[in-house]
């Protein structure tokens, strides 16, 4: 078992009557960014707190590099984490915040200045953290996670509050960490943020994993055989139906066609003299793949109510 893995098996947890985790199982592998995606309340943060030993699961286990987090002597050198960027004593400076963390792990002080440099906070390191913007706090949180040069990283919603420039920086940064061979788990409730960041996605809903797949695989699955057709001729619906396809109007001059490959659509339209300006195979977004998956998950659960 590599040190750079996070392994979650069958986690269950209830808060009173509410089920927070319902058999959560997945593995975060080294060398890639794993997106941890789901709607608010799907159990992402609870899973992360269980991994960190902050919350106790009723069942199941979570291992970091093969060991429970609570058994780690210098945990920040095994798993760097960022749960809540606002968790700062406002009157303490950013540098001092990292300093006490370094002292707690026996990490040399030079790492404090190195990580500050790495996240671009060197210039403001001696200012009170209370005066930081949310984006700066996220950077400080990343610095804290990197302090112990851990083989695994776990970040909860790191894109929150970042400006576009910061988001681009964060993406590149996360990819470079994965390229160094680290296991990186990044949660988000926005699938779009993952599209250009993650290699692998774990989609969760209502406390369990709905999909656990590579991003490419997920996109292929969601693509289906849909075709986008641009025309202002109403006759198109009848023409294609006769060929065995289904055309659904999606805009004033756009249609979505299923059941026919693009070459047969072009042939049929040409044969009936229907004018069109564009026929294109649909390029799905991760957003759509995600909505489809979570939609199904909701459907699947709806009849049973809250179980």
């Amino acid at each position: 078992m590599s040190e750079a893995t996070i392994e979650v098996t069958g986690l269950r947890k209830r808060y009173g009557a509410a089920v927070a985790l319902d058999g959560m199982t997945f593995t975060v592998r080294p060398g890639q960014v794993t997106g941890f995606v789901g709607p608010n309340g799907a159990g992402k943060s609870t899973t992360m707190r269980v991994i960190l030993g902050l919350d106790a699961a009723d069942e199941g286990r979570a291992l970091v590099g093969g060991r429970p987090y609570r058994a780690l002597r210098r945990p920040l050198t095994r798993l760097g984490s960022l749960l809540d960027a606002g968790a700062l004593q406002p009157s303490r400076t950013a540098r001092n915040h990292l300093l006490w963390l370094a002292h707690s792990q026996g990490i040399p002080v030079r790492r404090v200045d190195e990580t500050l440099e790495q996240v671009g906070l060197t210039g403001v390191a001696r200012r009170r953290a209370g005066g930081y913007s949310l984006g700066m706090r996220q950077r400080l949180g990343i610095a804290a996670a990197l302090l112990g040069e851990p083989p695994a990283l776990m970040l909860d919603e790191p894109f929150n509050g970042m400006d576009p420039e910061g988001i681009v920086w964060m993406r590149g940064f996360l990819r470079s960490l994965a390229a160094e061979g680290r296991a990186v788990l990044v949660s988000s409730h926005l699938m779009g943020e993952m599209q250009d960041t993650a290699d692998h996605v774990v989609v969760v809903g209502r406390g369990r994993v709905i999909a656990d797949a590579g991003v490419a695989q997920l996109l292929a699955g969601a693509a289906g055989d849909r075709i986008t057709l641009r025309t202002d001729a109403i006759a198109v619906a009848d023409v294609l139906q006769a060929e065995g396809g289904v055309a659904t109007r999606t805009g004033p001059d756009t249609w979505s066609v299923t059941g026919l490959p693009p070459q047969r659509v072009i042939a049929a339209l040409g044969a009936h003299g229907v004018p069109f300006s564009e026929v294109a195979a649909h390029r799905p977004s991760l957003e759509e793949a995600y909505l489809e998956l979570t939609h199904n998950a909701v459907d699947y659960r709806a009849p049973g109510g809250a179980r």
Binding site: R49, P75, A87, L88, Q89, T93, W100, H103, Q105
Partner: protein, 499 residues
């Protein structure tokens, strides 16, 4: 485990010193203790009315401060010998707010004495009848042996044999009961021997109108008539000499003290006490403990820091970062307690050391007589003040970890530590006050007590006068128990609860 603890202590220390508000509060605590200790809030007349007005209580043979006030009717006795007398009557008068009234204080004394000299503080042995403590044999201010609990008329006899003096009493002058034999090392070969009368001040607790001192006190005088005086041994003088030694200051209501002899009967009036010196109602000056009153104010600041040291992390979710960095939660709490306790201890020790080094001088320059305490007691006060602050800080930390709210923790601990003391020294009757100071965390202020309680001195041994019901270490132990209990509960909850 030890390396982990060491690293966590270092991390917590870094946390503590990097929040400017907390450092400020710790400085405030030190300044409060020092400032109130050195503030000239007291003034007195000792030494301010020119030479001779210094308050210098006599030193007894054992080196302790004593009061030595009595009326002595004596003549020299060379070598061994004895003296016998019958105390026929013993009455007294008390001076209150509304003038004199009859009344005999419990420790009024009339009897026989052999004393090294008429110098206050000199060695002595005496046998006496008291106001309400029966017959006693006392020596060198601290020695006290109880005899039969009789009242006048009563025969007394004092016999010297080398440096040993034996006291005896009798109801009829023929059957004698020996009360005790004491060794009086300081008695010269020729001692002053004769009759004496003394009467300490009257004291009583009176629930005053909410002022913090519900104590009434005033001078008192006792008058005894003696007869059947008999002597054995080598008495060199032929006449009796009356001498007033010590006693209440000039201009008191019992200025006029003397003795009258009519045939075989002596009538002697005296004021004052022959006993160890105490502070408070019946004594003189103040104890050095009172210079440490700033401890209470310092404690408030320390408690705020102690509570915020953990509740501040809960308020901002920082506790999760802390626990993620150190998953052994018990270790986190132990390290926090170590750091905040050690820092508070240093604040307490430094501040109280400054007060004890300079405070006594400030008070003396304002004419307040401060009862000196031995180096051992001063050391206990300094270390004790440090421990008091350290334990309060840890208690606040533990309560903060239990409640996870700074407001409730701060208010709770301040109320637990200061309110019982305040109530005990202000409004509570003595019994309730002592009960409260046995069980509440405020019992720990006993560690700051510097006054000694004497059975043979009638004083108001109340918390308000600086006398605690528990001995110093036991009082501190009560706070240790509270703190340990809270810390144990906090550890269990911290382990059990989701962070």
């Amino acid at each position: 485990m030890i390396a982990e603890f060491g690293r966590q202590v270092r991390a917590e220390w870094t946390k503590l010193r990097t929040v400017p508000g907390w450092v400020f509060a710790l400085l405030v605590a030190a300044v409060a203790v020092i400032g109130l200790g050195l503030a000239p809030g007291m003034s007195g007349s000792c030494g301010t009315r020119g030479p001779g007005s210094e308050c210098k209580p006599p030193i007894g043979p054992g080196g302790e401060m004593v009061s030595d006030g009595l009326y002595l009717v004596a003549q020299p006795l060379a070598g061994d010998g004895s003296i016998t007398v019958r105390v026929a009557t013993l009455t007294g008068a008390i001076a209150g707010e509304h003038g004199k009234r009859p009344g005999l204080v419990p420790w009024a004394k009339a009897g026989l004495i052999m004393k090294a000299s008429t110098t206050p503080g000199s060695a002595y042995a005496a046998v006496m009848l008291t106001g309400s403590h029966g017959v006693r044999m006392q020596s060198d201010f601290t020695g006290d042996i109880a005899g039969p609990s009789d009242s006048p008329p009563r025969w007394l006899r004092l016999t010297r044999n080398g440096d040993r003096v034996t006291g005896a009493s009798s109801a009829d002058g023929t059957t004698w009961i020996t009360i005790g034999t004491v060794r009086v090392a300081g008695l010269p070969s020729t001692a002053q021997a004769g009759l004496f009368v003394a009467s300490p001040d009257y004291t009583a607790t009176a629930g005053g109108p909410f002022g913090l001192s519900g104590v009434e006190s005033g001078p008192a005088q006792a008058t005894a008539t003696f007869d059947h005086l008999a002597r054995q041994g080598q008495w060199t003088a032929s006449e009796w000499t009356g001498t007033r030694i010590g006693g209440p200051g000039n201009g008191g209501p019992f200025e006029h003290q003397d003795y009258q002899r009519s045939g075989d009967t002596f009538t002697v009036s005296g004021s004052g006490d022959i006993a160890p010196l105490v502070t408070g109602a019946a004594g003189l000056g103040v104890s050095i403990t009172q210079t440490l009153v700033g401890t209470f104010l310092g404690l408030v600041a320390i408690v705020v820091v102690g509570a915020l040291f953990v509740t501040g992390e809960y308020r901002r979710g920082l506790i999760r970062t802390t626990i993620a960095a150190r998953p052994r939660r018990g270790l986190v709490l132990a390290a926090k307690a170590t750091v905040v306790g050690a820092v508070s201890f240093v604040v307490g020790v430094v501040a109280s050391a400054v007060v004890l080094a300079f405070g006594v001088g400030v008070l003396r320059s304002h004419g307040v007589y401060v009862l000196p305490a031995g180096t051992g007691i001063e050391l206990r006060l300094v270390v004790g003040t440090g421990l008091l602050l350290a334990l309060s800080a840890i208690l606040a930390l533990a309560v903060g970890a239990i409640l996870r709210r700074s407001s409730a923790a701060v208010a709770g601990v301040i109320v637990l530590v200061t309110l019982p003391y305040l109530l005990a020294v202000s409004v509570l009757p003595l019994g309730a006050a002592q009960w409260v100071l046995r069980f509440s965390p405020a019992a720990a202020f006993a560690i700051q007590q510097s006054a000694t309680q004497w059975a043979q001195v009638d004083n108001v041994y109340a918390p308000a006068e600086g006398y605690f019901p528990l001995p110093p270490a036991a009082g501190l132990g009560v706070l240790v128990a509270w703190t340990a209990g809270a810390l144990a509960l906090a550890t269990v909850l911290l382990r059990r609860r989701d962070a």
